[in-house]
């Protein structure tokens, strides 16, 4: 029985990478469709009319949008190589940290890129505060998922690649090895996992992209 799985993504979207990692970890075969967000395909608009964004997962012609919703769908559909714990309290804890990443970590790092002056300082401070909490959570663990990658690692995985890119673009330190030894070790361990390593977008292209985004922002102010 052929299962048709398609992933709509861009070359650089950190959210789409989550979906790629989850499918690759579970050994699911899929077709990749690259979108140009300045010229969205009719299919993308049909499959994600509400947000019109990537990633979108198409499974047997049915679309699912929002990367974290897609991760839960992948987990519900392909039950081998689980990404969430079995115990309900541990599952709730995993979901808590995934939400923390979305609500606190990502916006602070994003605003450090997009803002200037005092606003940028505040965003940077907020990012450092959020890293302190991640550092605490890693105590006694190699990965957020324990011995193996779990959904929290996948949801936070963008840190392992984008942080060093943004540190270069902004000339601003985010994750100092001495201040955040566990988080630094996690980033190295995560980035080295074959399934993860093979799918990082090219670093030089990412640096160019984020420099351009920052410059465009500064120009509009």
């Amino acid at each position: 029985m052929g299962e048709e799985v398609k992933v709509f993504r861009t070359w650089s979207s950190p959210f789409a990478l989550r979906v790629v990692w989850a499918l690759d970890l579970k050994g699911i075969k899929y077709e990749t469709i690259y979108e140009d967000l300045s010229n969205k395909s009719p299919l993308l608009l049909q499959y994600n009319p509400i947000h019109k964004k990537v990633p979108v997962l198409l499974h047997n012609s049915k679309p699912i949008a929002e990367s974290l919703v897609i991760l839960e769908y992948i987990e519900d559909t392909w039950k081998h190589r689980p990404l969430l714990p079995q115990d309900p309290h541990q599952r709730a804890n995993a979901r808590f940290w995934i939400k923390f990443g979305e609500d606190k970590v990502f916006p602070a790092v994003r605003d450090s890129l997009l803002k200037q002056g005092k606003e940028q300082e505040e965003a940077h401070e907020a990012a450092l505060e959020s890293f302190k909490l991640l550092e605490e959570e890693l105590k006694g663990k190699k990965l957020f998922g324990g011995e193996e990658i779990g959904m929290v690692d996948i949801a936070l995985g963008w840190l392992a690649n984008l942080v060093s890119v943004l540190e270069e673009v902004l000339v601003l330190k985010f994750i100092d090895e001495h201040k955040f030894p566990l988080l630094s070790a996690w980033m190295r361990l995560f980035a080295d996992i074959p399934v993860i390593k093979q799918s990082w977008p090219p670093r030089d292209k990412l640096v160019t992209k984020y420099i351009a985004i920052r410059e465009a922002r500064l120009a509009t102010n």
Partner: protein, 219 residues
């Protein structure tokens, strides 16, 4: 051995109400502990040290935070009765998508309708009505967002319904006029004891907002 279930909550919070509705749907007995958010107690600070917010569910001494995460937890633990999420993975994904949509979109403009004035308030009102219309579109002809059964998306959104009176009063508009099918859904949900017993009286909420404005010095 009996389960010990405690809910740390605030009577007016639409997020806390979600947990009350879910527990009621499952017939779970629990102890409700009203929190004073301007003077946070040691239990709240111990059980939710990161966000220091309500709701927090404490089950046999272990805390669970974030309302929709709590509702999923309740569904997984008390799974023998009243399933809140569908069993089909695609239907579950749709439910998660729409609950996420409600969670991200409804609260901010709703709050601005009563907490701001002039252009900012007008913008918020327009945005709010648009969002409600999208939700009404998703509901379609179904009795509930979950289809035939009351479920996760219904729980995530119905708790805003007691706040509609506040939004309508301050925004000077009628949600019934803008979204009649949505209001029919609200009335249908309110016929469920889990909802009617968990949501406060809308007039009390309006009085509460007037009180908040006084203490925060909003005109």
């Amino acid at each position: 051995m009996a389960d010990e279930v405690v809910l740390l909550d605030l009577w007016s919070s639409m997020f806390g109400m979600r947990v009350r509705v879910a527990l009621a749907e499952k017939g779970v007995e629990y102890e409700y502990k009203e929190q004073d958010l301007r003077n946070k107690g040691p239990l709240l600070l111990e059980m939710n040290p990161i966000h220091k917010k309500i709701p927090v569910l404490i089950h046999n001494g272990k805390p669970i935070c974030e309302s929709l995460i709590i509702v999923q937890y309740i569904d997984e633990v008390w799974h023998h009765k009243a399933p809140l999420l569908p069993s089909d993975p695609y239907q579950r994904a749709q439910a998660r998508f729409w609950a996420d949509y409600v969670d991200k979109k409804v609260y901010p403009p709703g709050r601005k309708i009563w907490a701001t004035k002039g252009d900012e308030q007008e913008e918020a009102k327009k945005e709010f009505i648009e969002i409600l219309k999208v939700l009404e579109g998703e509901l379609g002809e179904k009795p509930y967002f979950g289809g035939e059964s009351f479920g996760f998306v219904d729980i995530s959104f119905v708790t805003f319904s007691c706040w509609f009176h506040v939004y309508e009063t301050f925004g000077n508009f009628s949600i019934e006029k803008e979204c009649p099918k949505l209001m029919a859904w609200v009335k249908r949900c309110q016929e469920r004891e889990s909802v009617s017993k968990s949501l406060p009286d809308e007039k009390k909420l309006l009085e509460f907002v007037y009180y908040l404005m006084k203490i925060f010095g909003i005109e």
